[in-house]
């Protein structure tokens, strides 16, 4: 068991990913023009409003996990200074992404409720600014999601499971990729399955290709997670031990019941059902959304605590 980083960092990594994923959904709908097929588009509204507060909350939690930095907050500024540290990259990425997503959220609200902001919207080109913010923000959203994985993979030999490669002979770390895909997946879960379905009963019908895209994403995430565990087994040592802990060991109950079932099996079944029969059962979609988001949090927790230190 890895006990240095537990729940607080797990929530922080999760919120970073969720915020980044939600932002990417909103930005994608914006650029595909899907946003403007609606007068009221819940996924873009939620995907624009929530990332700022979510990622900011994650950062506050990170600060609460600090020792001296919490007692003497000016020390946090030192964290901007060491560019060989992934955490310094993260602090910079978050410092750009949080304000950008707050601005994006505000612009989306202005665009959705133009009458409230009539005086301001007349003077400034809301949509043009929104597009620029969405484009720049999307780059930082991807960076945020990747950062949550690189933070772990960068520890190298100290925790072999975190630095497991994509394939046994391909030295690209898996964690950043897995966390990026998981971030987008939880983002869709939050903005489309959950918020979209709650606000508009026929949400899933309006985006015909969405269930297919989401199905593919969940499939890719399942493959990446499977590969991570297999590669860890092949690598042996502490990485294999971590994979064993997750699949059949002390974390297996949490893994199968709180990650695989709600985050993969159930949403896959729901989306496959939707695609196959063309039906859109609202409750099932809500369930899938909640399941994906919860599984995203638990996944990060399990990855953190399974980071068994290398055997000396």
């Amino acid at each position: 068991m890895q006990t240095v980083w537990e729940w607080l960092p797990a929530i922080y990594l999760f919120l970073g990913g969720l915020g980044a994923g939600a932002f990417l959904v909103a930005a994608t709908l914006e650029f595909l023009g899907k946003r403007y097929e609606f007068d009221f588009c819940p996924p873009t509204l939620v995907g624009a409003i929530l990332p700022g507060p979510l990622v900011a909350l994650g950062t506050v939690l990170l600060i609460f996990d600090l020792g001296a930095g919490l007692r003497e907050p000016w020390r946090i500024f030192y964290m901007f200074t060491h560019f060989s540290s992934v955490m310094t990259w993260g602090i910079w990425i978050l410092s750009v992404f949080i304000p950008l997503s707050l601005v994006y959220g505000f612009l989306e609200v202005m665009d959705t409720y133009p009458l409230v902001w009539e005086r301001m919207t007349k003077r400034i080109p809301v949509r043009r600014i929104k597009r620029i913010v969405a484009a720049v923000g999307a780059v930082f959203a991807v960076a945020t999601a990747l950062y949550t994985g690189i933070l772990l993979s960068a520890v190298g030999p100290a925790i072999p499971f975190w630095s497991t490669s994509v394939l046994p002979f391909l030295p690209i770390p898996m964690m950043p990729l897995l966390f990026l895909v998981s971030a987008i997946s939880t983002g869709i879960g939050l903005t489309v399955d959950l918020s979209g379905t709650l606000a508009l009963p026929d949400m899933q019908k309006r985006f015909r290709r969405l269930p297919l895209i989401h199905l593919a994403l969940i499939g890719i995430e399942a493959v990446l997670l499977g590969l991570l565990l297999i590669t860890a087994f092949v690598e042996g040592g502490a990485a294999a031990q971590a994979a064993q802990y997750i699949v059949i060991g002390p974390h297996s109950l949490v893994f199968w019941i709180l990650i695989v079932l709600p985050g993969f099996a159930f949403p896959l079944a729901v989306h496959a059902y939707t695609l196959g029969l063309g039906r859109h059962p609202r409750l099932l979609h809500l369930g899938a959304g909640i399941g994906i988001v919860v599984a995203g949090l638990i996944l990060r927790y399990v990855v953190l605590v399974s980071g068994i230190p290398v055997t000396l």
């Binding site: 600090l66 020792g67 560019f83 540290s85 000396l312």
Partner: protein
């Protein structure tokens, strides 16, 4: 015994602070200089390849008594149960042997590379130190050290580590763990004297770094491993 150990602790609590103050000043000057030269921290640390001191651990002599663990706790005034060094039980029931582990004072320390605040740095002697004025307590160094040599000081909220008792060593004395080692499994000395025991052990290739595959290039510690 305890009183005898406690004496120098009181005295050195102050001098250690003064020492860290000096280290902070020189560290700040060095880091400002480094930034002006647009060098990364990694590059700074990579330039120091060998340290002024060497500590060789002969596992054949270690009896697992853990006097080193206790001595380190006392000299550094650490809370009960905490120490900069620990001893692993290795082997099986038939042939148990012991592996004392502490900071290896790497020339490429991952703890310093991942530290977002540059709190961890390499002293001119090659000893890896932590500047307690810069540390934010993010614990990234604790997860990144493959030797698991970092401990967390709950009172000050910073990551703490073995400093090779540098205050004593600079005055010609021994680190607490070496002084306390009853069977003489820890051999300490300067590397600039080719005739002393540590230099001979290293030159002959008998003393080797622990887990060189981690690529951290331990600069102070090396081991003579005899399994069983």
């Amino acid at each position: 015994m305890k009183g005898k150990e406690c004496g120098p602790v009181e005295k050195t609590a102050l001098s250690r602070r003064r020492f860290l103050g000096l280290a902070l000043a020189s560290g700040a000057v060095a880091s400002v200089g480094a930034r002006f030269l647009e060098k990364s921290g990694q590059r700074d640390t990579a330039e120091v390849r060998s340290a002024r001191y060497a500590l060789v651990i002969d596992t054949a002599k270690c009896t697992g008594c853990r006097a080193c663990v206790e001595a380190c706790n006392l000299r550094n005034n650490l809370p009960e149960g905490q120490s900069y060094t620990y001893v692993l039980d290795k082997g099986d029931e038939q042939a148990t042997w012991f592996l004392p582990v502490q900071c290896q004072h790497c020339a490429d320390p991952p703890c310093a590379a991942v530290c977002p605040t540059r709190a961890t740095y390499i002293h001119e002697s090659g000893v890896v130190l932590i500047n307690d004025k810069l540390c934010v307590g993010c614990k990234y160094c604790m997860v990144a050290c493959p030797y698991q040599a970092r401990i967390f000081d709950e009172e000050r909220g910073i990551a703490d580590k073995c400093w090779l008792c540098l205050e004593w060593v600079l005055n010609g004395d021994l680190p607490a763990c070496v002084e306390a080692c009853i069977p003489g499994a820890k051999i300490f000395g300067r590397t600039d004297d080719p005739d002393n025991e540590v230099s001979k052990l290293i030159a002959s290739g008998r003393a080797k770094p622990l887990h060189p595959e981690f690529n951290t290039h331990p600069a102070v510690l090396s081991y003579i491993i005899t399994e069983g």
